[in-house]
């Protein structure tokens, strides 16, 4: 019923717009990389004669409706030679365009007559696309190329500290980012507690971070969307890529199943620290792996099918006594269909599962603890390319989720434990959206849309009523309400308006503004700064309201030197309502009365982000600077007083540079500086029995020292690579080149000596700063054939 509502609304809208048209015909098709057949996303399709155009959609498809005639059409894309196609358009024409990567053309010098001015012309603001070619040239921790570590260096993005895979976008917490791999959500993107992320760089085609002006097709999280797409697999020829690194090794095989029509890709990565440990007779074993696989069938432009799969896991074992593991598994099935040359449809079926387990193997104290979250989504997204001035997108998403927050069970006969299950929770989430991108004049382009979010917390669950629902010290249940399977417990309906506008000031300059409202109905139950994989998620419920964010952003965009240099300055203000926080000392693990720990309140954030980016030439790189402030005010936390968020870092500078010195050598460098993170420190202390506890006064009343670090890398392609199919490259990297002891956190203890024995009077305390990585060199050998 909801669906027919959205469609009829859309159809009405279409008719009213289409009626304005005259005798027009449509040019459409896919834009691909000629060398491997991968679709290219966001390619600018421009008709100089009309000074009009479009960009390819997230599936690489474009459609332009024009009056009959002959047109010269330019296809331009970063890192690719501009392709000009002449089309005599007398009827509808399907034209797939193959573009040539500049790296394929020539290694050393790139010459293009016209560079892409997407930065200025595109309507979308507050979006960063990672240039994977550059990312590969930059230094990486232990040589493992990691997109999340690069995301953490973007303006407007804050990190809690090195060695973590969490990121904080424009005042949002780590769980407010929707992280998607081939449209499937990843609930915990960390390996080894965040040292690495789950994204194996080999298989990634592109990744985009939306920080503001978030399109209506996205919903469900407050602060950002990180959309990662994997490669489809080369449909021209078989290829193998691999790498041997300090921490992990990788291999990827891709190739055609049916030339030009169907291809596959399989990629795997595994860390092997445990193999060394095993060799060294150490029985503390730790490893992680990732497997990505995809097949596709692109028989023709009208119907294309994709199936993608991801599985990744971390496994820790300590001497066969204690172990834990966590992992994500996702699968996406996608069908791209052209109803006609102007109506493009994408239908996806997505499953995602995150789980963890903990096990203590002991005849008496043995137990096994498991938890998981499963979701199934069906999405239908439609793009209607009305004319050169209007692109309409609309769709319907439905997601069902089952939260199994925990089960503890004995794992031996003599275990002192008995089985306990925390209640499962269920939710059904509908999203209906429509938005239109409209070119009003040569200078003004608008995007306006609306997303309707209908969220249902469903049974079967028991909901407890309390004398005081916020009393976490002594929760007293007064009643238990039983809800049967699928029975509605609580519904939350929210309208999310989205709007964006771009105004061209002149050649190479524009101003953009945007507004978005976002709603979040899945809440991470994590009270620390950095989530751990053992945190669980909860749906909105009678005790947990949806989180809401309103963001306005304005920016000035300018390109210099014939689009060689891109500059942007963006300012934002974000106001958040009902952000989820927790009471002091909250007991968030395996708590039957978890709802008594919830504290929701307000948060606001504002900031200025400057970015200078050079995408082409021998020297590429970027300089970013962010000033921002993020405060929270949560009733019941910090005596109700406003306090800085855990991730409130005022000044952040990030510099990245890659330099192609010669055909043999490429150099990379990154530098980061940020104000220290807020921290709650002791001001006093006391004695109780034999213990020496701290007295804490204000939440986040202090700051860690500033963070800064320089990393360097050099990539060497031996001369013998030339003219042979097998190519090997060496990557040498130095992490933390000047060996700075960067603060990770501070803890306190009774003063002790190096051996851990108490020294002094036993009452004197000391604060100690934990820092992670000293100077760390690494070598990685990559192969490709």
């Amino acid at each position: 019923m909801i669906r027919s509502f959205s469609l009829s609304f859309a159809v009405f809208f279409l008719i009213s717009v289409v009626a304005l048209g005259q005798e027009k015909v449509t040019l459409n098709g896919y834009v691909r990389d000629v060398s491997n057949g991968e679709e290219l996303i966001g390619v600018t399709v421009y008709i100089p004669k009309m000074s009009a155009g479009t960009v390819t959609n997230p599936y690489g498809f474009y459609s332009l409706t024009l009056p009959k005639g002959t047109y010269e059409i330019q296809f331009s894309y970063v890192g690719y030679a501009v392709q000009t196609v002449t089309v005599d358009l007398q009827g509808d024409v399907e034209r797939n365009v193959d573009m040539l990567s500049e790296t394929t053309v020539m290694q050393e010098v790139t010459v293009t007559d016209k560079r892409v001015d997407e930065n200025v012309v595109s309507l979308q603001m507050s979006k960063n696309t990672l240039d994977m070619n550059r990312v590969r040239k930059l230094p990486a921790l232990f040589g493992e190329v990691d997109i999340i570590k690069n995301i953490q260096m973007l303006p407007g993005v804050i990190t809690a500290g090195e060695g973590t895979s969490s990121f904080y976008v424009r005042g949002g917490s780590a769980d407010q980012n929707l992280i998607l791999i081939d449209e499937a959500p990843i609930y915990d993107p960390s390996h080894l507690f965040g040292l690495f992320s789950v994204f194996n760089a080999d298989v990634i085609k592109d990744s985009e971070l939306y920080k503001g002006g978030i399109p209506a097709r996205f919903g469900g999280r407050l602060s950002s969307i990180l959309e990662v797409r994997t490669k489809d697999g080369n449909n021209k020829k078989l290829g193998v890529t691999g790498g041997i690194g300090t921490m992990a090794s990788r291999i990827m095989v891709e190739g055609p199943l049916v030339k030009d029509k169907a291809s596959f890709i399989v990629s795997a990565r595994r860390s092997y620290v445990d193999l060394f440990l095993r060799a060294a007779n150490n029985d503390n074993l730790v490893h992680f792996y990732d497997v990505n696989a995809k097949v596709n069938w692109k028989g023709n432009n009208n119907n294309r099918f994709f199936a993608a799969f991801y599985s990744g896991r971390d496994v820790f074992n300590f001497g066969n006594q204690f172990g834990f593991a966590w992992g994500n598994r996702t699968a996406t099935f996608r069908w791209n269909h052209l109803f006609n040359e102007r109506l493009f449809s994408n239908t996806s079926i997505i499953v995602s599962n995150f789980d963890y387990k903990l096990e203590l193997k002991d005849p008496v104290q043995g137990f096994k603890w498991t938890s998981n979250l499963e979701e199934l989504s069906v999405k239908n997204d439609l793009s209607y390319f009305i004319n050169t001035n209007n692109d309409l997108t609309f769709g319907y998403h439905i997601t069902g989720r089952r939260f199994s927050p925990g089960r503890i069970a004995p794992n031996t006969e003599g275990s002192m434990f008995e089985e306990v299950n925390l209640q499962k929770m269920y939710a059904l989430d509908h999203g209906i959206y429509i938005s239109n991108q409209q070119r009003l004049t040569d200078r003004i382009t608008l995007d306006y849309g609306l997303r309707l979010s209908i969220f249902q917390n469903l049974g079967a669950t028991d909901i407890y009523e309390y004398t005081d629902p916020q009393d976490n010290s002594r929760p007293v249940r007064t009643d238990t309400l039983h809800y049967g399977a699928w029975q509605n417990i609580k519904t939350y309906v929210n309208l999310e308006p989205r709007a964006a506008a771009r105004y061209m000031l002149g050649e190479g300059q524009s101003v953009k503004v945007s507004y978005n409202r976002m709603v979040q109905n899945t809440h991470l139950i994590a009270a620390g700064t950095v989530p751990v994989p053992f945190n669980t998620w909860n749906p909105s419920s009678p005790y947990l309201k949806p989180q809401l964010a309103d963001q306005v952003a304005a920016g000035y965009f300018r390109n210099f030197k014939d689009n060689m240099l891109e500059f942007s300055a963006e300012a934002y203000y974000k106001s958040m309502k009902d952000v989820t926080d927790f009471a002091d000392n909250a007991d968030i693990f395996f708590n039957q009365d978890l709802s008594t720990e919830f504290r929701q309140g307000k948060s606001y954030s504002y900031g200025l982000e400057l970015l200078l980016n050079k995408k082409e030439g021998r020297l590429t790189g970027s300089v970013g600077y962010t000033w921002s402030k993020t405060m929270r005010k949560i009733p019941g936390v910090n005596q109700g007083q406003e306090f800085p968020a855990n991730y409130d870092r005022r000044n952040v500078v990030n510099i990245q540079a890659a330099y192609d010195y010669s055909a043999r050598w490429t150099f990379g460098a990154t530098f980061s500086y940020s104000t220290g993170r807020p921290i709650t420190l002791a001001e006093g202390k006391y004695q109780f029995q034999s213990y020496n506890p701290d007295i804490v006064t204000s939440r986040n009343g202090y700051r860690l020292p500033a963070f800064h670090r320089l990393d360097l890398s050099a990539t060497y392609s031996p001369r013998k690579n030339e003219g042979r199919r097998f190519k090997g490259t060496w990557v040498f990297a130095v992490y933390n080149a000047y060996n700075r002891q960067n603060p990770f956190t501070i803890y306190t203890r009774v003063t002790k000596n190096k051996d851990g024995d108490t020294i002094g009077d036993g009452y004197t305390k000391e604060a100690r700063m934990i820092y992670l990585f000293p100077i760390l060199p690494s070598v990685t050998y990559n192969i490709k054939f």
Partner: protein, 277 residues
């Protein structure tokens, strides 16, 4: 059992180092600290009063010696507590009952402390505690490979029944030759009975012993408030600065008027065994 998270969160520290850092901290306001205990065992009743100090201050806490302290049970029997009646040098700040008494299971106890006209009060209920059925001991192989204290690698095994369906909370204290021991100085041994079965057959002690050592185990009953206090205290003592743990916060307490510490009513059961080779 939730404490297990603190073990594994430190697993990440396998790549970390730490060093002392001097913090520029604000002066803290001195607060009254109360440590009070009423049990069903003779000679175990006391109240200790002191004041908090700044983080970097050295030495023992300033003691409060001039307070008026009393404990009243739910039947209206009131006992005054006198400061250091035997004038022992190591008992400054300790208040002992004027007339010896023992707590009774099932009663409520009310503490009243008057420090220079400021009144601090607390209530706790004295719950029963399960008995320790028997003790045994064995060599712990891991500890034998790398003993924390030279030659001490015997663990003691505890056999007990956990009464169902009552909701119970426990605090344990372990003694080696009548001296209270902690494996780490920030360890607190406490538990609720969530997920616990009725038979506990041989749970091992965290303290290790050598042949000839006498091992004593004391089990204390706690109220829910007491459990919450020790749980919070444990989180505070082992906090990592709010990185993976939640930000440090003071323990919730049953004391009024901003005093820190706890007034605890407990039943105690204990058992001892001498470890032999």
């Amino acid at each position: 059992m939730k404490n297990i998270f603190f073990v594994l969160l430190f697993a990440i520290v396998f790549v970390s180092c730490d060093r002392p850092i001097h913090l520029n901290l604000n002066e803290s306001q001195s607060r009254v600290i109360i440590e009070g205990q009423v049990t069903n065992r003779a000679g175990y009743q006391y109240v200790k009063l002191s004041r908090s100090v700044d983080f970097y201050q050295t030495g023992a806490l300033p003691k409060i010696t001039n307070a008026t302290v009393s404990v009243k049970d739910s039947d209206g029997n009131e006992v005054m507590f006198i400061h250091n009646p035997n004038n022992k040098a190591d008992s400054v700040g300790y208040y002992l009952p004027q007339t010896p008494f023992m707590g009774v299971i099932g009663k409520d106890y009310h503490l009243r402390v008057d420090v220079d006209g400021e009144i601090y009060e607390a209530d706790d209920h004295l719950y029963p505690v399960t008995s320790v059925d028997s003790l045994a001991y064995r060599i712990d192989d891991d500890e034998k490979d790398d003993p924390k204290t030279y030659n001490k690698f015997y663990e003691v095994l505890i056999y007990a029944k956990e009464p169902h369906p009552s909701k119970d909370y426990y605090l344990f204290k372990f003694y080696r030759n009548d001296s209270l021991k902690l494996y780490n100085d920030t360890d607190i041994y406490y538990t609720d009975d969530e997920a616990l079965g009725e038979s506990i057959n041989g749970i091992s002690t965290p303290i290790f012993y050598a042949p000839g050592d006498k091992a004593t185990i004391e089990a204390y009953s706690l109220s829910r408030t007491g459990y919450v206090f020790y749980d919070d205290l444990q989180k505070l003592l082992n906090n990592d600065g709010g990185m993976f743990n939640q930000p440090p916060a003071n323990s919730r307490t049953n004391l009024s008027n901003g005093a820190l510490g706890f007034f605890q009513a407990s039943a105690i059961n204990s058992a001892s065994i001498v470890v032999e080779e």
